[in-house]
Amino acid sequence: MFTFIIRRIGTILLTMLCLTLVVFFLVNLEPNLKKLAISQTEMHTSAEQLESWLVDHGYRQNFFARYGQWLGVLPKQPVTDPATGKPAQRFSFCNDPTTPTFSGVLEGDFGCSTKFKTTVAAKLFPALGATGILMLCVLGVMVPVSLLIGILAGMREGSRTDRVLSVASIASTATPEYVSGVIFTVIFASWLGWLNGSAASASQGITFYNFTLPVITLAIYGIGYIARMTRASMVEVMTQQYIRTARLKGLSFGNVVVKHALRNALIAPFTVIMLQFPWLLTGVVIVEVMFRYQGFGYTLVEAAGNNDIDLLLGCSLVSVFIVLITQLISDVGYAFLNPRIRVQ
């Protein structure tokens, strides 16, 4: 088990390395650097000025040297100020070193956001906190509701409840966030006026009024999927011999479901919930943009839209880490919950 986890963590690190290299390559394509230079300089700058901006800010160094600097295995070089000829900070707004120092991700320096004019850490971590709150609320709604639906549907396979709930969960998996978001906003914000169609004020204080719509929008897409998995698992458990035995020895149906079936049926949904995180990540981006909530997804879109290299790399690092870590937790947790499975 221990070696398994160590090996998996090794794979995770390797994956993160490869992925950041790919992202680094893509954001440093010539058109993207041009876009960055244009957005960072004044309007109507000539091609030479754009080029000199890129040279001055160190974007014309060797590709691998810059990746090494970002990673922290090569010392970060200060740029030379063209006016004085002395070493200067690359970006004055985030205290870049003026002497060559090892200051990359491995040293805990995520770099400098050109869009928000601050360090990546100062922008990214508050945003992650905001998204964390959103995620907690979503999981708090999604998990109990979907498990309940799945158990009720799978308890008696083929019954009317089962059919109705199954079709409802299929319908919910067919509703992506940008569709349900629009529909909920129309119903609850435009027609009924109960809820706020924007969560922009949620960064000051979360209220039922401004936070419900993002949460249910995000939850609804996952609910259907988890409910269907729970149902399938529940159906399988209900056909087992030990359930029949429990029934035959005279336990009531409710008792059998709660005491015998439930614990065995909840192993599979655990994995599914964990593997739901990558999906939630995409959903978070859509919902945060739609409801103007200043979280991780909003930051990612801003970073990508403005080709903010360091911020985008930080975002990809975080999201890849979340995806891989949840996979690991789901594998380990599955082996832990189900002693019949042995991890090799």
Partner: protein
């Protein structure tokens, strides 16, 4: 000037009437399938359950809507008639006397016509991209599952690499206007579009290599048609000028194939690992069949059930992805009538007008729902056997 309006019931009747080619086609197809359902194998069995009928109905509805889009829609999806700006559903356009059935959007275009034309974009790209993703996934997944070992480790690592990317980030990186100036989309397209040609060549070669009368015809046809489409799609150099794809559509297409083929790969790999332990595979090995013959003619046909179900779900998922792309304004032209772009445009203005938002959302949702219902009932039917 104040626009004239027609009433709610008139709108409903007019919408139903507008779809008449769809109803006719639906009646013919559904009726004949229902009569001959005993002879139609798996497709016929779909008509045994309500869920299956609903799924087939919705999918066919959108299919025929896409085919007959020019007959159904009363207006040009891109045409702007300034007087109709932000009009409510049922407003009559004075010159033609026809109504904007679902109203006009902020650029004074007919929401109904845009919804109808939007189905064309979705129904071309989503199934085609899924098809290519299936080809790529199958061609790589079969050897990974069959041989195992190093090939498997390398391919699985690459697949997991792509899967670890959050989809949205991948699209932001791969579908930007800037990337069209680089050779990356064309290189990716060049690689992906090779897979179907390789797949069919190997497929025919393994089966008919000892029958010269067939093999040369089949290989020749594959290379001719495949090469022709390949030239048209990747290099835009189709000598006959029939096969053509916009650069930004190619970009979207490639990105969608790239994002969904690892999923297919994983499924095919898992199925192959399961099926290769069966007796008929051992029998084929004893007969001395080549590995690729076993993979393509013994394993693949026996994996078709789960693959068909997955393909249905995947088309739905691709539709959602296309909508996401449209919603973030990536790739597709800003005036394009596809559903995602329409939802984006309308959702910005929800506070003032809600009517332009509803038709594309409901269209997208119903199409994906139809595909999911279809997949669900296919799964149920194939489990019965």
């Amino acid at each position: 000037m104040q626009a004239q309006y027609i009433g709610a019931s008139a709108i409903i009747l007019e919408v139903l009437w507008r779809f008449w080619p769809v109803w006719v086609a639906l009646a013919i197809v559904m009726g004949s399938s229902f009569i001959y359902k005993k002879k139609l194998a798996l497709y016929g069995q779909l008509f045994d359950s309500g869920v299956g009928i609903a799924g087939v109905f919705i999918c066919l509805f959108w299919l025929f809507t896409a085919i007959f889009a020019s007959t159904i829609s009363p207006f040009d999806p891109l045409g702007q008639i300034p007087i109709m700006k932000d009009t409510l559903p049922g407003a009559i356009e004075p010159q033609s006397g026809l109504a904007y059935l679902f109203g006009g959007d902020k650029l004074a275009r007919d929401v109904f016509s845009r919804m109808v034309y939007g189905s064309q974009i979705v129904l071309i790209i989503a199934p085609a991209a899924t098809g290519f993703a299936l080809m790529v996934g199958i061609t790589l997944g079969l050897p990974a599952g069959y041989y195992g070992g190093k090939i498997d480790s390398i391919l699985s690592f690459l697949a997991n690499l792509v899967l670890a990317f959050p989809v949205i980030l991948l699209f932001y990186l791969l579908v930007t206007p800037g990337i069209m100036d680089t050779p990356i989309p064309y290189a990716l397209a060049g690689v992906f579009f090779l897979f179907p040609i390789i797949f069919f060549c190997v497929l025919f070669w393994t089966r008919y290599k000892n029958r010269p009368d067939r093999i040369y015809i089949l290989l020749g046809l594959t290379l001719l048609i495949g090469g022709w489409i390949y030239l048209g799609l990747v290099f835009d150099k189709d000598p006959l000028k029939i096969v053509h794809i916009d650069p930004n559509q190619l970009n979207i297409f490639v990105a969608v194939v790239f994002a969904s083929s690892p999923g297919v790969f994983r499924i095919v790999r898992g199925l192959t690992m399961d099926i290769k332990t069966r007796d008929y595979v051992a029998a084929a090995q004893t007969r001395g069949e080549s590995p690729w013959y076993i993979m393509l003619w013994e394993i693949l046909p026996n994996a078709r059930g789960p693959l068909i179900v997955d393909a249905c779900l995947r088309i739905g998922y691709t539709t959602i992805l296309l909508g996401t792309l449209g919603y973030f304004g990536l790739g597709l032209a800003p005036e394009s009538p596809d559903w995602g772009t329409a939802i984006k445009d309308a959702s910005r203005l929800l506070r003032s007008f809600i009517h332009p938002a509803l038709p594309p959302t409901i269209a997208l949702m119903s199409f994906v729902l139809g595909l999911n219902l279809l997949a669900d009932s296919l799964r149920e039917q194939s489990m019965k056997d």
